[in-house]
Symmetry: C2
Subunit: 559 residues, 2 copies
């Protein structure tokens, strides 16, 4: 059995390794147009930020072997042709035309099964000046090496990053420091636009600005122009001119599909290669996986483009199993995505709130704040969780986390629950591990599910930070009832008028002091006591009372 795999980074090597184990007799060849194979591309920001000092570490296995063609041949008997481009597929004859890029020699490889693992490449806008020197993308190890060389030269004092998506943010985090000023230009009105909902993105934006990064939103880049040295020196934007020493273009990724398209294979609505659940293209002897294919969204049931190394590896296994005659299907993705930036753990899964509405779902959402461990444990930190669920059944359809604390664990639990259509009640009752170093007695996941249940049950009204600020901006008659302790109020007073300070412990006695004829919003640090206070007042017959979701720990980021 001859198997040709086009692409040697993630899916390709995984197909090869798994297939070798299943079929010791198979003749397996990987075609890779670059020099390097099987590198840890996700580690490039770590290399940029000096957390991985040597690029070679990204090329090595955990036991210290370099994953080069020789390693692949010796350990897996897989032939790797690097510096070789696949130029055309002849589906009738089942051959691939390849060209060695060093010797410029063509060759023809026959296949029984072909695997397209051609990956993705950074979107480069048709921008004047995009080819100037010191204008980078961040996709390939050579990109990262060039950027780091510029950093080492100490000629990089001001870096402009175009695009505040995942890669742009990771680059900002990696390169930010006392010697390098960073400006982030984002065309959308929020950072991490496809990643987080606006309310959650604001929490991150707040932290990033606090660190000293300049963030320009709704900012269209018009062009790049050179300085005296010929390198980029200025970025023209709708928000004005930026003087800069370098530019990273981080607009997004698009699937590499030219080979598939010219071979007449169908692409999906997202522009990526269309595959069935066995990861076959329309030509059943051609499989495709990884960043070049379209995935099925488990929550919306829609096709999505969601390139990720973890998915690429799963694809590799499924493809190898199918080629080896072991029937295997890939179920689809939740569009889970996680990142660490500016010390914050950030993640999302499922649908965003707007996206859910666009998918025709009637949803409600809540943002809660809490700790990842008991507050008396020396290692505990805050996590903000946004949960989105269908009003009718309480089925959770999306979740997002932001915080210094261990939020990704909570996200992974929600990913798993959502795979099975879990309701809020299911999640509240999960028997998750509890001990003081690992969670609070009511885990944050359960707490967020309970908060949303309470909201959806109409038990108590709540307002989000943005709703509160909108109401204040419109001069609505809103009273903020600060129910924190005197010490808390003194140390971090709330910067608004129309506030009333009554500690929760005195509220039962003093509630009649409250003004009437306006909205009353109870406020505390995390939203938990605010909820309690609102319940108390509702019980007293106070009519228009809500609590501030997530408390000041959210509101603080909005101001």
């Amino acid at each position: 059995m001859k198997v040709v795999i086009i692409g040697g980074v993630a899916t390709g090597p995984k197909v090869a390794a798994r297939l070798r184990r299943l079929r010791p007799d198979a003749d397996i060849t990987i075609i890779e147009q670059g020099e390097l194979i099987s590198y840890g591309a996700c580690g490039l920001p770590l290399y940029l930020g000096n957390l991985v000092p040597d690029m070679m570490e990204l090329m090595m296995t955990s036991s210290g072997s370099v994953r080069d063609p020789e390693f692949f041949y010796n350990t897996k008997q897989v032939k790797v042709l690097n510096n070789t481009r696949a130029e055309a597929i002849n589906r009738e004859q089942k051959t691939v035309l390849i060209r060695n890029l060093l010797h410029n020699q063509q060759d023809i490889l026959p296949y029984d099964y072909l695997v397209l693992a051609t990956g993705a490449s950074p979107t480069v806008p048709t921008l004047p000046g995009k080819d100037l020197s010191n204008v980078f993308t961040l996709h390939h190890p050579t990109d990262a090496q060039a950027i780091r060389e510029l950093v080492r030269s100490k000629k990089l004092n001001h870096l402009t990053i175009i695009g505040a998506g995942l890669i742009g943010m990771e680059a900002a985090d990696a390169l930010f420091g006392p010697r390098i000023k960073i400006t982030l230009c984002e065309a959308q009105a929020q950072i991490l636009p496809k990643f987080l909902d606006t309310d959650m993105a604001l929490l991150v934006e707040h932290e990033v600005r606090e660190k000293g990064v300049e963030v320009l939103l709704s900012c269209q880049v018009l062009g790049l122009t050179a300085g005296d040295s010929g390198a980029v020196a200025r970025v023209e934007t709708t928000n004005g001119l930026i003087e800069t020493d370098a530019v990273i273009l981080a607009i997004g990724m698009r699937p590499t599909v030219e080979l598939a398209r010219t071979a007449g294979l169908a692409l999906g609505v997202t522009g990526a290669i269309k595959v069935n659940s066995h990861l076959q293209t329309e030509d059943l002897s051609i499989y495709a996986g990884g960043d070049c294919v379209e995935n099925y969204d488990l929550i919306s049931g829609q096709p999505v483009y969601s390139p990720l190394a973890s998915t690429a590896n799963k694809h590799g296994r499924v493809i190898a199993d199918n080629i080896a005659g072991r029937n295997s299907e890939f179920p689809g993705v939740n569009k889970t995505s996680v990142m660490q930036c500016f010390e914050h753990n950030i993640g999302r899964t499922g649908l965003g709130e707007e996206e859910a509405i666009q998918n025709g779902l009637d949803v409600s959402s809540v943002i809660v704040s809490g700790y990842d461990a008991t507050h008396y444990h020396p290692m505990h930190d805050k996590v903000r969780v946004k949960l989105i669920a269908e009003k009718s059944k309480g089925r959770v359809v999306g979740a997002q986390v932001v915080g210094l604390g261990e939020g990704i664990k909570r996200l992974d639990v929600l990913v798993t629950a959502m795979k099975y259509g879990a309701t809020l009640e299911d999640i509240a009752n999960l028997d998750l591990g509890y001990a003081p170093p690992f969670s609070t007695a009511i885990d944050l996941v359960a707490h967020s599910a309970n908060a949303l249940r309470n909201k959806m049950d109409g038990l108590i009204r709540s307002v989000s930070s943005s709703d509160l600020l909108n109401a204040l901006a419109k001069n609505e008659k809103v009273y903020i009832l600060d129910i924190r302790t005197d010490e808390e109020v003194k140390s971090t007073p709330i910067p608004y008028e129309n506030k009333i300070e009554i500690p929760l412990s005195e509220l039962d006695q003093r509630w009649q002091e409250l003004p009437t004829g306006g909205r009353l919003i109870t406020v505390c640090e995390l939203g938990i006591r605010g909820y309690e206070a609102a319940c108390l007042l509702q019980g007293k017959g106070v009519s228009d009372v809500s609590y501030l979701e997530g408390g000041l720990s959210i509101l603080g980021a909005y101001t």
Copy 2:
């Protein structure tokens, strides 16, 4: 509506707080026989180990308020009668006879609904000398304070802990240090007997012994005897006499059910109070929750006794909802339990392997080793995962983790998946969050599921560390093929005879050097390359080849 709650630690206060929010008009009273209410009992080992310097922190909310009766009344309008014991329940008249322990006054409280949240207490064996001074249990804050006082007096040089279950191990971890020698006496043949399977417990035992803790297994304690001071000075055991300065009895917990029993309420087979899914006792106006009740095991479908603070809180919510007329059910537990000790994160959920077999399930299991983050990320650590699944359907029925790395996150994912009857294939394809700081591209959960699938598919044979050692002990004809790199072999050679060293990269060329006519077991650090090597050899027609599960990272702990 009059609601009387007996027990003021976890379930009781939770019922009260939730019910207050739902029913502002309810008359709610908590009866607590101790002085303290609503304290973080799970934090006692942290207090012992000085990670929580002040016991008050365990009594406070995260915003710094002390949870005393006054706090409860002021913030929740819940009356708390502490230092008060509930002595009898009159179910016909719906009253509780109570006694104030300070003034020795009796009183009678009428109720519409009664909640039993009487908790559990440490099992104290009928052991000669158990009442000597410096013999402690570790359950109540006063226990922890007394132990800490002894530590401060510097008269504690040798501590004997009887029982190496969760509490015994936590106590050992908290108190171990250069000045205090610790001996753990465990009646069973392994530490953490109800918590971990023997193979996983051995991994922990190895670490604990490495730290210098003395571990005596299959060790029956016969009696305690006093020294000159009258305090305990010797522990007589089947393994000999231990000179000691203090003893902690950590045999286990049993539910406090006397009140329920004398009221004629049924207990379950486990000896805890029997409740339905609404957490009602046979008397539908009496609810019970927390450490005093029996739970339903979601995996086995059997009643179990599994006391945990997290479950107690969930119970509290369900009980309050039902009393308030909101129909609510508690689904049951996975028997999840987690702990941190000697820097290791340790956890279990579902059934143990033996337990699964006793439940009539035909299961297979695997132990794998891996990292919690990419190996090139500066913060990565090892986790060992044991996964147990039904052979027929691949349904996962149990999981255990041990390691310095973030294993509890993986456990929580498995808890969630098991709630829905997930198969190994489901778990391998979960769209969990991947980025280098949070996991490997193939998350350890997926890796363990894949390893067990391979084993169950008969793709390749494997042996566990204990099987290998048994075979060596019996002088079976076993060849160990060490396929690590020369550097690895040089730095940590394998301490067995009958070993052959051929690096994986040379195996394809040199496999014919291997001896024939015996079992061949391939060995590497984590088990991943060993698996690859075994596949390679199987492909060459080598007949009796297996790989060592989890590699030397497991075997090392057995030796």
